[in-house]
Symmetry: C2
Subunit: 405 residues, 2 copies
């Protein structure tokens, strides 16, 4: 109960912050892609992976918002972030209090206007929220058709080229031959960059948010920390835990490190500060009397690790992120960026630890050097990296102008 209360509190605090921010930014109605949304399923018999291996019996979930035009020429693809899902906007029922994660910019009259555009948000392969009832994905927790048992570590290495190839097949199955835009935050931005290089003629525009065109050494260092806790948990058992106890402690710690590294000091200090977890248990009285931020992060991550997230999927997704580099098949990053035909709007968060402001400045300079004009917007957020999610409305006008013109 305590855990659930804390999950609820985090949620409530986040909502409160949303509402205050939206008021400050003059939004009359923050939430509300107005229709109830459903999860759809795309299945694919088989795909050839970048590794050369074949993956069979693939399924991924997706959602759509708005109406597909007769010519199927009004489509925007939204790609989700690391711990996210294809639930980018709307609600699952009229009583659902939690809207999709980019609902602030997706809907009637919003930056991504569902009166104009048909928006598709797709789950990725390796989605870590395997036990979320609204997630449909294929990964190491899926059943290997050859053995009728979960793959575990026999699952092949997946790269972002594979992840977007599955999305390409999904679009093909819907008869969509061209996109207005591909966009997404964080790992969604990674997919966006990969789309622009893998299918340069398939879209008019890209909006990679809080993501650069490759994982640099710094990000690889962090991704390693998102895997190590799982690897040192004895219950992980070389990935063979599907019939025994799950490596909850290791997975929870991985999620806790994700939370801190993706967040910002402003969030921690305004939400928690030096508040105690329990008003009658002073932190100075025991090694185990916690401050509020400690208990909150531990409880929420333990809840997710026990009920929602799959450990092996995190390991595989961390690997995919570390492998990400659009310049891989080019002579240089300059050549890779030159190959992009879409117009580009780059959005970063000033306080981002994972994809630093300095890195974005580097890439903006490269675009200048190769004479390729790009649009750019910087979000000023107390949420660090997550500013690209929670404060995305700051970029709303820039996104609207970029998409509509």
């Amino acid at each position: 109960m305590n855990v659930l209360m804390n999950v609820y509190k985090i949620f409530r605090n986040t909502m409160l912050i949303f509402i205050v921010f939206s008021y400050l930014h003059g939004y009359e109605k923050l939430y509300g892609y107005e229709k109830v949304v459903n999860k759809e399923v795309f299945t694919l018999d088989s795909i050839l992976l970048a590794s050369g291996e074949e993956l069979k019996n693939i399924e991924i979930g997706y959602e759509t918002y708005g109406t597909l035009s007769k010519n199927k020429d009004n489509v925007i693809l939204i790609c989700h972030y690391y711990s996210g899902t294809s639930h980018a906007a709307g609600r699952y029922s009229v009583n659902d209090k939690l809207y999709g994660w980019w609902d602030k910019i997706i809907g009637k009259g919003k930056a991504v206007d569902t009166d104009k555009y048909f928006v598709i948000a797709s789950d990725t392969l390796l989605n870590i929220n395997v036990y979320d009832e609204n997630v449909i994905t294929t990964g190491p927790a899926s059943i290997n058709p050859q053995t009728d048992k979960p793959y575990g570590l026999t699952f092949p290495i997946i790269e972002f080229r594979d992840i977007i190839n599955v999305q390409y097949e999904l679009l093909k199955s819907l008869g969509i031959k061209h996109l207005i835009a591909v966009m997404g935050p964080s790992m969604g931005g990674i997919q966006t960059w990969q789309w622009a290089v893998s299918y340069p003629n398939f879209m008019d525009k890209i909006i990679p948010v809080i993501a650069t065109p490759k994982a640099d050494g710094w990000l690889i260092g962090w991704l390693n920390l998102w895997s190590r806790p799982i690897l040192i948990d004895p219950k992980w058992n070389n990935g063979n835990y599907y019939f025994g106890k799950k490596p909850v402690n290791g997975t929870a710690l991985s999620l806790q490190i994700v939370s801190m590294s993706a967040n910002g000091s402003g969030w921690a200090n305004s939400t928690f500060g030096r508040k105690w977890a329990n008003p009658i248990q002073a932190p100075e009285d025991s090694l185990f009397n916690l401050f509020a931020i400690e208990k909150s992060l531990i409880d929420t991550s333990l809840y997710s690790a026990a009920n929602i997230v799959d450990a092996n999927s995190m390991l595989y997704l961390n690997k995919a992120n570390a492998l990400f580099d659009i310049s891989k098949d080019f002579h240089s990053m300059e050549d890779a960026l030159r190959s992009i035909k879409a117009d580009i709007l780059i959005i970063n968060s000033k306080t981002d630890i994972l994809f630093t402001q300095d890195e974005f400045i580097n890439y903006l300079n490269i675009f200048k050097e190769i004479n390729k004009p790009v649009s750019h917007f910087e979000i000023n957020s107390s949420f660090g990296h997550l500013g690209g999610l929670y404060d995305i409305e700051q970029a709303g006008q820039s996104i609207k102008v970029f998409l509509d013109n």
Copy 2:
């Protein structure tokens, strides 16, 4: 051997970076407090702790550089950082290639000029490098005189007030009744702030480097991540591991998180980038084929956890850091800062994740509001928080002017 090679490589790379930087900054001779230094030991029968408990049989190590004046009025106290020791300058032998950690600013003619000043650097209680032959400390790995066994979790909670009270007793034992200055980086800066509030008449000047006057919610969140890996390691065994196997995996992961959160993207990208750990093991071929930064951080942290660092000491030191708040016995932070009588030079590192630039701006604004002038210098470093160590020479001139005038 592989581990040792990597430790050596990290060391060599760091040295190389030092040398390049020092050249750029126009230092002719970077290292060289010229004398060989020795570790001295201070022992204390007993002290009353902030918790009300009594701690007995205390010993801490210290080093000195320069010559104590006849009137004992030329003393500067240097406090060490989280994973540091009292080896702030000089070498242990003429063949010793590794100089103390602030050697760049301590020595003949340097910012902290040993021709003028007598410099004392002291180990703290709870020093985590318990098995470093040059560290002398008292903490949970020490022998409890009542049981003749290591304290483990029966060791009392220590606060920074206690840590500096022991240093005060050390100075008293040397007949030193007043200090020119107290200074130190990171946790050394924390001690510096604590000194200024606990003994406001004892020093003329303070130089807290890369540290604010309290641990905020954000820092508390990180400190929790520096403890959790130990707590979930089954070998930690509630702190009773001194006669069995040490919790090496958990301790190593804690140290690895310390390394990343205290460092900066510039360091990771210039030292490692996307280099592979092994040129014939492509990271895309296996979940366990690593990039260079991954292997380097894992190897060095495993080496330290197995040979140098005590897990319980990390837990206690993390707790002490989380409890740090100079305003604790005051009505407000403003009152606490007003109570400081020493002149203040604040030094921060622009790219610091743990003590962010924004937090320093907050404190500089508070000093303005209470009409208390302070000097300030910002280091611009690729090492994040560790800029306060590795790039301290940037502040050399400011420190020299501040101390000498």
